[in-house]
Symmetry: C2
Subunit: 449 residues, 2 copies
């Protein structure tokens, strides 16, 4: 059954990748997309750079507008339409037009849920004061920008030291604000081992961010409805702008209420074809579960790359083809001013959690031949299984040219390579690009002992 | 037998990697190294950047000096000693001290041949005129530098459009010379397919190099012993400096005369442990054969990375351990001013030569998210086997950040991945580093159709 009405809930990366794929395969099929926000196919990852002033218009973050989908692809995209209820038995959804406030039941033959993730935003004292924001949709990023434009805040507090928190901290430093960051862990970037995360903490301090580690958000202070401070378990930090960057959770209330099986972190459980537990219902992107190719366990990750891949796989299947999404290895990368940070695979506590034994090596080398102008430092940490020598994970911190080397490790992890096989890799070498042993190979050599 | 006298002929990457490895494993063993030049363990690849003035001293290209090897590693390095004859039956070599001109027979228990490669330098009319140079050893690079310092040449001709030719053309442009380059092929970089090589030709022209393609060197013109011109089959080009960059050939006369089996391009045939056909004689580096992991055939490549790897493997075995060198995938990278060029695996004519059928796709995308400042173009060409979809090769040309992505393809080739598996890879993404689909994945998606 791949000829009836295809309905997609959510018009960002996963949903529109799928819809576009189906359209290419099935030029005549009816495709309707409901999207709560005014935007489709935007780069949420680009918002910190928009707020930093590196990108002059939020429009540039939109890959394809709703109009373009309607006019060029004949996809019936209805923005500012929120799906309130899913009835899998009758194969229909209840949709609210957020402009007219009209509600209607709309039928589907096949349904793809791509509802994404929502920012975690704890309800605390005065958390409804103006000037406190989380970031998830493009609309939420525009709100921050407009607030800054109107109120010219001078003291910002970022709550949470994950990717979005750090990127926002840098963005606000670039815009001339005095920036503090609170993080309940012992260092920022909890997806890095503490020894590597500590380097990132140092990098943040170097760009002028005041770090409060081991501190938890307990509430806010406000005056006349405007935020004036962030209260932690240890102090009150004055603030006229607060960014809550505590991560996201899969946006799966609709699926849960409809009795669809959930998995890791509340994400929708899917098989490798992106099918859910309910007939004719599929899911992809930040709301859907993934599989971790190293731990061999279900895994959840909210990333544009994964959303695009899962969306394409779902679209191929929804168009009557056959495709599977094999999974992820947990790769991520970020830039904090001049510092580049990347990770892939498992970190120490994940390895220990799996009951595996490991060995590790960390080496500090150069991004280019040592004698070549512009060679910067790069630190590579590798983790491998004791006995087999199988690579389990890698983390990189360094200057320009450092981070993208993580892709070699991601590829090696996918292939199940050993540390010796990484040493043997025929990686590219010329003095402007690398020392004669690439930094990932130097770490691998060190790990071999 | 890993306790007697270890002799190494050739004190650069392969030889000194091996000697160092043996020394670490066997602190007491006698190790003697004969090196014809005054230098050990230098970066030949760094010479163009020294000549370009990017590196202020040739000393910086020396990783470890002969003195350091003698004093810190107790390795008896004898520079300016040339081995003239090898007698494998009596296990001895005849060595000439190039300073005193004394000759002597020196015995060995195990011998490692790491004699490298020599620049191809055709003997033509007036080819002995001053101002005509090839580049292979560090000493040859210093000669060019000293010549330029003394004679202040203004018009240079580079003969040959391979890596060293192009890097030298850029170096001479940087030093303010008027540079012409002659190449007998239809475009520079014969290790790239013509469509990609043509982009490199354009890049060279853009930096001001006058290109003469389809032209062959036939001789030189000179006056008072100094070169004044380069003669091709079509014209005479005025020149007061000529760099002959026609590649190298394995330096294996000694091995051949001793009856040791040779292989590809006259390189010394070795098994994966780096053993030659003669008892107790091993070989590694530019003089030794490799194995191509994609074509599954013997292959020869003269590269510092391979020399270091083969040297380490030979050293492990010579110290009584067990190691093998699995082979190469033909990876190379180069920088021509702002342009980056890289390749790995097989090119079209190699694939055809193996009797394989292939499909190919070339995509032009960006090195970063399109909206992120500094995003430059990157062109990726992929080649895959028809039917199986197995990756066979890849070529990249582009701006800053383009070339090192070749390492993902090199790793994928080593693992025998298909194009679909490349699409599925969990590569790192953040706007400062990549579009949401990495350029190598965009090319892979295009190839899947």
């Amino acid at each position: 059954m791949t000829t009836g009405r295809l309905m997609v809930i959510g018009g960002d990366a996963a949903g529109m990748s799928a819809a576009s794929k189906v359209r290419r395969q099935k030029p005549e099929r009816e495709i309707v997309v409901f999207e709560r926000s005014p935007h489709t196919s935007y780069s949420a990852c680009g918002m910190p750079y928009f707020i930093a002033g590196l990108i002059d218009s939020a429009d540039k973050l939109v890959a394809r507008s709703p109009e373009k989908f309607r006019e060029k692809f004949n996809i019936d995209v209805r923005v500012q339409h929120e799906v309130l209820e899913l009835d899998p038995t009758a194969q229909r959804v209840r949709v609210k037009d957020l402009i007219s406030n009209n509600e209607a039941w709309e039928p589907y033959d096949q349904l793809l849920i791509t509802t994404g993730a929502q920012a975690i935003f704890p309800q605390l004292e005065d958390s409804n004061a103006d000037g406190i924001f989380s970031l998830s949709t493009l609309a939420s990023g525009i709100k921050v920008y407009e607030f800054m434009d109107k109120h010219l805040p001078r003291k910002a507090v970022v709550v949470g030291g994950g990717y979005i928190g750090l990127e926002m901290a840098e963005a606000l430093v670039r815009q001339g604000l005095q920036v503090s960051l609170i993080e309940k862990g012992e260092q920022v970037m909890g997806t890095l081992d503490p020894d590597i995360g500590q380097l990132v903490s140092e990098a943040l301090r170097e760009i002028g961010v005041t770090l409060y580690l081991h501190e938890s958000l307990t509430g806010y202070e406000q005056s006349n409805g405007m935020v004036t401070g962030v209260v932690t378990d240890q102090r009150t930090i004055p603030a006229d702008l607060v960014i809550v960057g505590l991560g996201t959770r899969p946006n799966t209330g609709l699926a849960k209420d409809a009795g669809i099986l959930l998995g890791e972190k509340g994400s929708i459980r899917v098989n490798p074809r992106q099918q859910t537990s309910a007939p004719n219902i599929w899911a992809a992107g930040d709301c859907a579960e993934s599989f971790h190719l190293v731990s061999r366990k279900p895994f959840h990750v909210a990333l544009g790359t994964v959303a695009n891949k899962q969306g394409t796989v779902a679209g191929t299947n929804l168009a009557g083809g056959y495709a599977t999404f094999p999974g992820v290895v947990g790769t991520a990368v970020s830039k904090i001013c001049k510092y580049e940070v990347a990770r892939t695979g498992l970190m120490e506590r994940e390895i220990t959690g799996l009951g595996l034994q490991y060995k590790t090596a960390t080496t500090k080398t150069k991004t280019r031949a040592g004698y070549y102008p512009g060679a910067g430092w790069i630190m590579v940490k590798l983790l491998a299984e004791l006995g087999t020598g199988r690579l389990l994970g890698g983390q990189i911190v360094g200057l320009e040219g450092a981070a993208k080397r993580i892709d070699v490790l991601a590829t090696a992890l996918t292939a199940g390579m050993t540390v010796q096989q990484i040493v043997d890799l025929d990686l590219s070498y010329a003095p402007p690009f690398s020392p004669v042993w690439d930094p990932v190979q130097t770490a691998a050599r060190q790990l071999l002992g």
